[in-house]
């Protein structure tokens, strides 16, 4: 039984191994015509080549830098503005109509406009990621702040907390689960958006590498890029999941009802 239990976590890998084996077989047996699917092993070899030559690292780094800057700026602004809008009715009333107007515009829809406004440079993808992460995090923060039980607020006030203390010691900590939901979802989304931006407009980054590979019909490189993307999306999402757990798991699961 112990042995089985120890094996259990590894069982999730079984479908992946099965999938990769099928892939390798299908490709080796030439079941898909026209060399459209290189074998998995070839992809791994290419991955190695790209890594050692520095091409992958370089492109990856430029994408990563853009994501980090755009996402940090977008989420910090979203959290600050969301806190203000959730806490101060006047801020909510003033900004909500504007934000409701801009929120439905798909992030990629901004590309043509931003290309003309800020040109094709590093600012373009950063700006796109900013827009992509700002709105959802803003909304999640507003909801989180507004949902804090009024009784906690009254309790903190009667215990002597000023407006600012109330916000920093009770309201924001209790809104954290909601804020983290936004961060977690958008951390993955930022990678999806950066690729699109790099594919259309920017000559460096994983997206650009994808497009170059496409024009050279290097399917193995395309797949390498996609794998890197998948891994990065996953790492970012898991990173925030981990942070959320660290910060809130001691109490969050049980805090649905009044304490």
């Amino acid at each position: 039984m112990k042995f089985l239990k120890r094996l259990q976590p590894g069982w999730g890998l079984l479908p992946v191994v099965f999938f990769l084996t099928c892939w390798e077989l299908i490709s080796r047996l030439n079941l898909i015509p026209g060399n459209l699917l290189p074998p998995f092993s070839a992809v791994i070899v290419e991955f190695y080549h790209l890594s050692t030559s520095g091409i992958l690292g370089q492109n990856f780094l430029s994408s990563l830098t853009r994501v980090m800057i755009g996402f940090s700026a977008g989420s910090i602004t979203g959290i600050i503005l969301g806190t203000l809008m959730g806490w101060y009715k006047i801020a909510d009333r003033a900004l909500n109509p504007l934000i409701s107007l801009f929120y439905p515009i798909p992030t990629l829809g901004w590309i043509p406009l931003l290309m003309l406004w800020i040109g094709i440079n590093e600012m373009l993808p950063v700006m796109l990621i900013f827009i992509c992460s700002f709105f959802p995090i803003l909304y999640n923060t507003i909801t989180g702040i507004k949902n804090v039980d009024r009784d906690y607020i009254k309790a903190a006030r009667s215990l002597g907390a000023s407006d600012f203390q109330l916000l920093t010691t009770v309201v924001i900590p209790l809104a954290l689960p909601n804020i983290f939901t936004g961060l977690r979802l958008e951390a993955g989304m930022a990678w999806r958006v950066i690729i699109a931006a790099e594919m259309v407009a920017i000559p460096t980054g994983i997206g650009a590498l994808l497009m170059k590979a496409e024009s050279l019909i290097r399917i193995d490189i395309i797949i390498v890029c996609l794998i890197v993307l998948a891994i990065m999306c996953l790492i970012f999402e898991k990173l925030f999941e981990f942070l959320e757990m660290k910060l809130t798991s001691r109490w969050k699961r049980y805090a649905g009802n009044n304490m």
């Binding site: 039980d149 009784d151 906690y152 009254k154 309790a155 903190a156 006030r157 009667s158 215990l159 002597g160 907390a161 000023s162 203390q165 010691t169 009770v170 900590p173 209790l174 954290l176 809130t248 001691r250 109490w251 969050k252 699961r253 049980y254 805090a255 009044n258 304490m259």
Partner: protein
Amino acid sequence: MPAITCDNIKNFACNYICLQVRDKELLSLLGPNGSGKTTLLNAIAGFTDYQGSIQFDGKRIDRIPPNERGVGYLFQNLALFPHLNVIDNIGYSLKIRKWNPVKIRERVNELVEMMNIKHLVGRYPHSLSGGEKQRVALARALAPSPLILLLDEPLSSLDAQTAKYLRTELKQIQRKLGITTIYVTHDLMEAVNIADRLAIILDGRIEQVDDPETLLFYPHNQKVSDFIGAPNILDCDYCKNTGQGVMEVGWRGLKIYVPHDGNAIRRIAILPRHVYVSEDKPRGPGVNSFVARIQDIIPRMDTVRIKLEINSNSLLAEIPCHIFEEMSLEKGKQVYIILRMKRIRVFENGNDSHFSG
């Protein structure tokens, strides 16, 4: 500690309320749901708008924000901060006031000792039982040494046994600290047990403010009388200690036993809903069990009041409608009644009094 004066408080739930709470007093604000009890507490704490004025020791505090009023507030749902453990919950108000961490620890330890919750310090609210949460919440409210303590039905979510235990403790702590306290409840028994004085609030108006005995025996008007449920008041002819904490009192030829260990009993009272009516002779030792005749049956909202005659004396009983319908009671019928021993309220020859049970 200041006295509280509410002067013509008017808002959506309070209808020109005037109320004075004396220094160091525990006043129970008693009324049915929706009568404006909690709203009045919120007005005193500064959480709701009102017309009129509230004074602490003669000083108007209407313009002072809630965080500067120096009021400890124990909420009905306790509102312990879920993201802080017991120590941080209790020390919250001190941290806010930027106390030195060593002093915070000292004060928290002192409260933890007083409330007997030393074993809970590292735990989070979700892992505490109702009674434990109650103690933590009270410790938290007392931490900044508030001038006034407001308690909003603090025991309503607890089981009867824990509530009784905590009530006694609450009273002791209030006495020890001498803190002016308003205790909101809709339970007459709870109010009578804990309070120095009771204020009856009905439809946003204070109808009567008196000590428990006066209030029970001399309700000012029909509304108060209806609310407290017209207790049967029995003047005792004699009183004899039978030992083991039980006293025998005589009431017009009947022997009634009450759990009491103290001065001689002058009067006893029992609410009609605590007089049990049965068609068959009840089993058991037959303590406080008598034969009575039904004089009258008076239907009310969801209960039925039954006027009984025992040895040519009148006694009122009250039973829920659904139970009445299952029985076949009619005027003139002979029934058995039991005065539930634990529910009999005792008034001694001195001023002190308490509910047994």
